[in-house]
Amino acid sequence: MKRYRKGTFVLELVMIAVSLVVAFPVYVLVNLAVRPTSDTSSPIRPTTSPTFDNFTQAWQQGGLGGALLNSVLVTVGSVAVILAVSSFAAYPLARSTARWSRGLFLLVMLGLILPFQLAALPLYQTMRDLHLLGTPWALILFHSGLQVPFTTFLYTGFLRALPRDFEDAALIDGCTPAQSFRHVVLPMLRPITVTALVLNTVAVWNDFFTPLLYLSGSTQQTLPVAIAGFVGQYVTDWNLVFAALAISIVPVLAVYFALQRSIISGFAGGLKG
């Protein structure tokens, strides 16, 4: 429809300038993280004698290795449970026209609105009474329940848009509903599963408020809480803090750039849910 004109070139320059401004904090982050503490020149001046000392020091003193492992455990465990139970639940919600099914769907919609601050405090008491506070299991349990409404909502919307002819054929051929789900429905759920996987992984990995409550005082922190604790402890030594921040950002950005196509379409895919 259009060709590359002068105006397009100007737009190109403007967009590149905007992106550089957006990327500016990351530049400062890396610049200060590799700077020796003795260097007190302006934060935007490129560091002349880069060092990795801050990284090794932050890694050891912040206990970031253990925290990274805990974050992986909590994220993988939670997301596996969330996807399993939500895709299961969406099947009757999308296919049954019974009154209980519509009632349950409304309950799920209610779950989308309820802010977690309301449930977080009473649940804190329950977790304490069950002696689950301070363990990663509390977090897996918590995220699994918290993300169910949204994920079930995504799956149900997707399933409702799928034709049910294949399932009906399977049922007429004598499949049980469970077999029909396993062999017919599940393979068709792949696109929405990518979306649910991406959105839930990011939500659980990045969560700060819940581990702050449920793991407080424990040695088993997730990465965001470990970083917050580290910042509180070394608040005057920003080069060290920046190294810790960089350590937590690098794996996330590495995964993001490696899988950017699926991740971006995963985020945009929620649109159709």
């Binding site: 029909s180 062999h183 792949r190 917050a228």
Partner: protein, 318 residues
């Protein structure tokens, strides 16, 4: 689950038939509605983590429980009337609304402009799209700590302003009560503008090229084409974006906690930070859940109101 989904879609004939059950009808429609137990695991988790604690939260909002003592008494609406007399709470409600509305407006305008920019013919569009979205995947608490340093009096933002000759614009971005709230809004927009962009972009790419070409031939300029073609077809993307940013803005916690902790003074306290402080540092559990009930009502009103308004808009546009 992902392993199973890698199976190719089998033709219905390939599915292993089960033995017919005794006397149960083989009618597909009746049996399709039956697996209600599929929903049980999800609903048990949902009830344990969300529904039951939320209901208990509403109940505690009418008590004076401190969160620890074995006994407490029922005090009716005292927490809620007390809330209206508490200047901190009233201010926090105002800050919450101000932050939510500002983020919603600024982030969506910024996101839409970015989406239009990368949806053009520029050569760097793919690289820029990936780069501009990147902040949205980074842990918010981590970006907030990063910005806390950048926005400090000797931070990189003031240094950058100085380097381009605008040193006089330098500010104590987080220490000035007039500015701190807007700095928080700026950090959130920086992080999630790319998220709005991606959703708008998906909407823009769903607009068929032929319609634009036809309008071009009919003599419509770029502004006219945007207003008459793109804008109405963007409504679903706009619905999602407004919903995400308004609810995210109302619940905002991490960024406020890390950037200002609600300060300076109470200049940036929101409902979320006040709930946290009252429950865990002041031991006013009943009062804290009463604040959470107010937060719930605000979220519920905002999301249903917006849903209804946009559903009407969508019908009018189609």
């Amino acid at each position: 689950m992902p392993a199973a989904s890698r199976d190719p879609l089998p033709p219905p004939a390939a599915v292993v038939p089960s033995r017919p059950r005794d006397g149960r009808p083989r009618d597909g429609r009746r049996r399709a509605g039956s697996p209600w137990w599929f929903a049980v695991p999800a609903m048990v988790l949902f009830a344990f983590v969300v529904l039951v604690p939320s209901a208990r939260g509403v109940y505690y909002a009418f008590t004076d429980w401190d969160g620890l003592a074995p006994d407490f008494s029922f005090i009716g609406f005292d927490n809620f009337t007390g809330l209206l007399d508490d200047p901190d709470a009233v201010r926090a409600i105002w800050h919450t609304l101000l932050i939510a509305v500002s983020i919603t407006v600024i982030q969506n305008v910024f996101g839409l402009l970015l989406a239009l920019g990368v949806n053009s013919l520029i050569k760097t569009r793919n690289v820029l799209r990936v780069a501009l979205f990147a902040p949205a995947v980074i842990t918010p608490i981590v970006t907030a700590y990063l910005w806390r340093n950048l926005l400090g009096p000797d931070g990189a933002v003031n240094s950058l302003l100085g380097a381009v000759g605008l040193g006089s614009l330098g500010q104590d971005w987080l220490g000035d009560p007039q500015l701190a709230l807007w700095s928080i809004v700026g950090v959130v927009v920086w992080q999630f503008g790319g998220y709005s962009m991606v959703i708008f972009l998906a909407g823009l790419q769903s607009v068929p090229k032929e319609i634009h070409e036809a309008a071009d031939i009919d003599g419509a300029g770029p502004v006219r084409r945007f207003w008459s073609i793109t804008r109405p077809l963007l409504t679903p993307a706009l619905t999602i974006n407004l919903m995400l940013s308004i609810i995210g803005g109302i619940k905002l916690f991490d960024q406020v906690y890390a950037l200002t902790g609600g300060g300076p003074g109470h200049a940036t306290d929101t409902l979320s930070t006040l709930i946290y402080k009252d429950a865990f540092t002041l031991g006013e559990f009943g009062y804290s859940v009463a604040l959470a009930v107010v937060l719930t009502i605000i979220v519920a009103v905002a999301s249903t109101g917006q849903y209804l308004a946009l559903a009407r808009g969508e019908r009018a546009a189609s």
